[in-house]
Subunit: 200 residues, 2 copies
């Protein structure tokens, strides 16, 4: 969609790097690891990129721009509160399906990377994500779709963690599609926080 038809060597190297970073973590991936996987020498990477850091930088920014664009579209839509929340969950599982490496890098290394000035936008994105979910939850409560006694912050963390942690076991192309997983997760999640039930 957004990229050119034939991926440039640069894009190919970024893909390879993303896979390595996702698998072993940013700090535990050496430039030699990336170069080996690409079939070149480590020094040759510096013809394409300034540094190892600039590689993750580009990987994360590209991914997040796309993801948050989708969140924004949902927020701006005229759907009802429950549909919005469900769509946000589904978009997230779709992201895990289509960009598992990027999601894994963000999950595993955002804390560490965020401590550098260069990656200050990671904290911004984190706050933005919180804003998205909290808004959706509060709209849901206001609309009567969600239990009014929910601890909004705790629920936000529950949803966020529940959704993104799936990157640890979900494998694109495996038996279960991302829509199947999303169906199940939404079912467990919504029947739990939907109004009208009480087992206590």
């Amino acid at each position: 969609m957004s990229a050119a038809s034939t991926p440039s060597r640069r894009e190919e190297l970024l893909r390879i790097a993303a896979q390595q970073f996702a698998q072993k973590g940013f700090r535990n991936t050496t430039v030699r690891d990336i170069a080996d996987a690409a079939g070149i020498l480590s020094g040759s990477l510096y013809h394409h990129f300034d540094s190892k850091e600039s590689m993750v930088d580009e990987i994360l920014q590209t991914f997040q721009d796309e993801l948050f664009g989708q969140y924004d579209a949902i927020l701006a839509s005229g759907d009802d509160a429950r549909t919005k929340l469900e769509r946000a969950v589904r978009v997230s599982f779709e992201a895990i399906d289509q960009h598992p490496h990027e999601v894994a890098i963000f999950q595993n290394d955002a804390d560490h990377l965020g401590s550098f000035d260069r990656f200050g936008y990671l904290a911004d994105r984190n706050a933005q994500s919180r804003q998205v979910w909290v808004t959706l939850i509060e709209e849901g409560i206001a609309a009567g779709a969600l239990r009014p006694d929910l601890d909004v912050t705790l629920t936000y963390r529950f949803i966020r963690d529940t959704v993104w942690v799936a990157v640890r076991w979900y494998r694109p192309g495996g038996g279960l599609g991302h829509t199947d997983v999303a169906d199940q997760y939404v079912r467990i999640l919504l029947d739990g926080i939907s109004d009208g039930i009480n087992n206590a």
Copy 2:
């Protein structure tokens, strides 16, 4: 309880190491980091331990022995299915409260460490954990406490992830106690997977 009254120097160093491992990951923690935090030189650590690996080893084994002892006690108890499941969740949150570093290390580094012979028991513990949760879920379904249409594997992963990922944000001694968090999580979880509701 289990340790001596005055913690030995060895135990103190393990505590310090666990904190460093949890904070930065095993591979990204240097022996100099640990030594600095302890106020000694890196070489001096080798008076107490064989290697950096043997430090995590001891940390993880001690923790897991305790945790799985608690799981076993729950399985062996005569409680009803729903109570057992709830107790297992609560015991896990208690572990996060009392051994946050150990939980974090296991969450972040088990995959990597497990690839070495020495840490083969990590895979065993993982399988054991799966066995515990799957048993509890199946008992719950059989007893009519949980929805019969649940995907057991997916539900297992959902619970496991939901519980342990809390180590990322939960801070012992913070405003929210671990029992409070467990209350909320159990509520969301059980009202979601309990029988008798249908919002679709």
